[in-house]
């Protein structure tokens, strides 16, 4: 039986170089291509100059790439051991921003470390998935299916969720929640529970509405009817749709986007950079970039199918789904399918936090791939 042999204990210990060579370079290449499309768009947004955005973004990406590759080749058992500590560290940082965080975009989100501005909620997206994966790694099939096993994962989710909501950053909070729930689902938590809670959430919308900040309400109302306020809050989404639509099949050409270069578009270098891309490269360009994301993310989601340890499977898939939501929310937002929630397009949008999250997560996903033959004891790796 092929499956049986797959789980048979095997002595596999590769050297660092072997692991490096064994990386999935196709995925690395796709990631670089996505980032390059981002550089091109930042170059365009700056009216054809590398300064100030494209050049800085490239330096950042260089560092992040090194970081990603380093994480990928580190033995996965270290990451198993670090799962819970990482979650606690993230929790501490979230509590820290409560008190000493910098206010920006209407909420406390940033922690100024001097050399960089850290967004703990971004790190928490990864740490939560790690912690929940680590938890289910130690549960059997039967245990995973029981309701009692949901107590700890829900605590791991809800504590950071509440802290991030308080910042307030509902978008990130929901993504933390979604990543963790995806891991629980993949681990075998009862499927009916997800259906029921889905219905419950829908019923809770009116209640949640009461607790939303006015700017959040505006975003949602505007999303439902952007033309109602074409010069105010609906302006962004209306202009974005005009830019997307006017690009047509092949776009207006590099540096020729009128909506972007004449400043009709808002937030061009960050949240709406995908719009700039579509205006200049059209449906064709958009499809290529979306396909690259699709390839990279589907690879991450399905990597676990060839993986011998539950931690790796859950970690890779959970992170991939988290990152997919990132892309889905941003692209859906600029197309007017989702409310404007201020989520950047990772790797393409200007800014370090989203890129760092993406590259850290892909470092872990690639690490799962490299170490797919490693077996890990339910209690942990015993390394740390």
């Amino acid at each position: 039986m092929a499956a049986g042999s797959m789980f048979a204990p095997r002595r596999v210990q590769k050297s660092l170089l072997q692991r490096f060579v064994g990386l999935n370079w196709g995925i690395v290449l796709a990631t670089v291509l996505i980032a390059v499309s981002g550089f091109a768009m930042l170059y365009s947004v700056a009216d054809g100059t590398w300064d100030p955005w494209a050049s800085r973004q490239m330096v950042r990406f260089g560092f992040a790439l090194v970081l990603m590759l380093s994480i990928a080749v580190i033995d996965i058992r270290y990451w198993v051991a670090l799962s819970y500590p990482a979650w606690f560290a993230g929790l501490m940082l979230l509590i820290a921003v409560e008190f000493i965080g910098d206010t920006g975009m209407g909420g406390q989100r940033w922690l100024d470390l001097g050399f960089m501005r850290l967004q703990p909620s971004e790190l928490m997206k990864i740490a939560t998935v790690m912690a929940v994966a680590r938890y289910y790694h130690g549960r059997s099939q039967m245990q995973s299916r029981s309701l009692r096993s949901l107590v700890v994962p829900l605590l791991l989710l809800l504590v950071p969720f509440i802290l991030v909501v308080r910042q307030p950053d509902l978008g990130t909070a929901l993504m933390i929640m979604a990543g963790g729930l995806a891991v629980a689902f993949l681990a075998g938590a009862p499927a009916w529970l997800f259906v029921v809670s889905g219905i419950g959430l829908a019923a809770a919308i009116p209640v949640v509405w009461q607790f939303l900040r006015s700017y959040q309400k505006d975003r949602i109302l505007t999303f439902l009817n952007p033309e109602s306020d074409p010069l105010g809050a609906g302006y962004q989404i209306t202009q974005s749709k005009i830019a997307l639509g006017s690009g047509g099949m092949t776009g207006k050409g590099f540096l020729e986007g009128t909506q972007s270069h004449l400043n009709f578009l808002p937030e061009m270098k960050t949240d709406f950079i995908f719009t700039v891309l579509v205006e200049e490269f059209g449906l064709v360009g958009a499809t290529i970039v979306l396909a690259l994301y699709g390839i990279v993310l589907t690879y991450g989601l399905l990597i676990g199918i060839g993986c011998r340890n539950q931690f790796g499977r859950l970690l890779a898939s959970g992170l991939a789904i988290s990152l997919f939501l990132y892309v889905l929310i941003n692209v859906g937002m600029v197309m007017g399918l989702l409310p404007v929630v201020g989520v950047p397009l990772p790797l393409v949008s200007y800014g370090g936090s989203a890129m760092l999250t993406w590259m850290l997560a892909y470092g872990l996903i690639l690490s799962v791939s490299v170490h797919r033959h490693v077996t890990i004891a339910p209690k942990g790796s015993g390394i740390v």
Partner: protein, 611 residues
Amino acid sequence: MPREGLRYQTYSRRALLLAGLQGIALAALGARLYYLSVVNGEKYRLRADKNRISIRLIAPERGEIFDRNGEKLATNTQDLRALLVPEQADQLEPTLKKVQQIIDLNDRSLTRIRQRIKRQRQFVPVTLAQGLDWETFSRLNVEMPKLPGVQTDAGLSRLYPGGEAIAHLVGYMASPDEEDVYKSPLYQLPGFKIGRQGLERRYESILRGASGTRRVEVNAVGREIRELPPREESLRGNDLHLTLDMDLQKYVMQELGEEAAGVVIMDIANGDILSMASSPGYDPNEFTRGISNANWQALLKDPRSPLLNKTVSGQYPPGSTIKMIVALAALEQGLITPETTFYCNGKHRLGNHTFHCWQNRGHGKLDMMQAIAKSCDVYFYEIAEKLDIDFIADMAKRFGLGATFDIGVDGEKEGLVPTREWKRIFQQEAWQLGETLNVAIGQGAMLSTPLQLAVMTARLASGQAVVPRMVFGDSRGSSASFFQPLDVNPFHLETVRRTMAMVMEEGGTAHDYRRRKSATPLAGKTGTAQVRRISLAERRAEGGVIDNDELPWAYRDHALFVGYAPVDAPKVAVSVVVQHGGGGSSVAAPLARRFLDRALAPKQSDPEEQA
């Protein structure tokens, strides 16, 4: 290892399920994009163009105004201006403060600028200052990077080289009223002016031309990025050619000096107004620049009313200049013949009222021709007693009194030709015979403008219904061939013309001013219009009626003269009214003679051409 196998199976199933959902979501994004960019691509392309392409107006160059010899009366000159685009200024007040260090802006213009900014759309430029000199203009250009929103621009502004001499005719230009700004997009262009007075206003539609358009690419705040061809050029306005002779006009104005007077000189053959001078004048250029309050008040308070065009708006008793009309009415009625005589002893009694002749001691026995030549009042009292007022009125109207001619300048008044009906309607009283006596010497209710008197004279001289015109090519003016003969016995007209010639001869009231030597003879009639009532007491007092020189200016008589020349083949008619000038023969007649001489003098050709 069954435990691991079970977990693996659950995971695999669910991972594939999620991958499927992920694929569906990606496909949905793709479908949405296809819907936006391919299905609705055209619609969004149009909207993107609507965003970026703005149609801007190009102000047309205004047509110029010329006199009959091609001299420019109104022209366009380069005007250096400073503009402010409110939305491009970071902060309004600090910017204005900085601008004030370069340009001197007074409180009034600051108020105007602030009001304008409040009312207009924020990307429409507001004029900060105009008529800048080169030094200020270049300084502003140098400082511009420090003054966000401030722009400079070299536009056109109106200049009237004729100045005071033609102010009443051409009028002036002014910015559209604040409430009118939205009536035409053209009015919102910075510095755009419209004709506010005179010919500038009357012929606005001809002079203005048609605005052009250019398509410009603008960014989200409305700043122009570049122009997109094609550009539709504006159409220059049409020029206006006047019948006026600027040389003559300037001469007339100069001769009138400080007097409050109105003079009209007409070409009898075609009705061309060669000169239409109202003194004192004012400088229309001051209005273009924006007249100061002090100067405006001075113009308003001047008793000689410089703002009034006396040639068409000034209504004066015609005085003795009406006597030709009264004589014609009597002749046409068969009441008198040229030989009919009356005796003048200086006064005429009607009931218990005495009417005086200007000549206290009386003219003795005289016929109609002598009566006009010497301007005997008693002779006309005698006629008036038998002549119905309505006959006089009818004759006056045939000669253009009481009528307007719509020549295009502002404020043409009708004057007044009294009739029985007029008296009944406006004063609710029956006509009194005594009033006919007053009208017969051009006093009483009778009023006329210098233009009407000139038309009357031209019609007397030609026997045709001459209609005056000021603007060539205007349908209102008609050419000589269309003038109808007047419905008056030509023999009677000829008789009256001969008496007008006699005025300038031995024994006539204007004999002193007849042309000497072999110069072209001229014909005319003096008039002195009383503006005050002379009391019985004054007439009886020692020294009699007080001399004009001893009266305050406003009580002095108006001096009038109407005339034409040459006597044998009349070419030019003139009317002169000098307000409170004194006697028609002593003040108006010499002026009129000089004007006619000048009008008839052969044109001085270009000295360079002669050489």
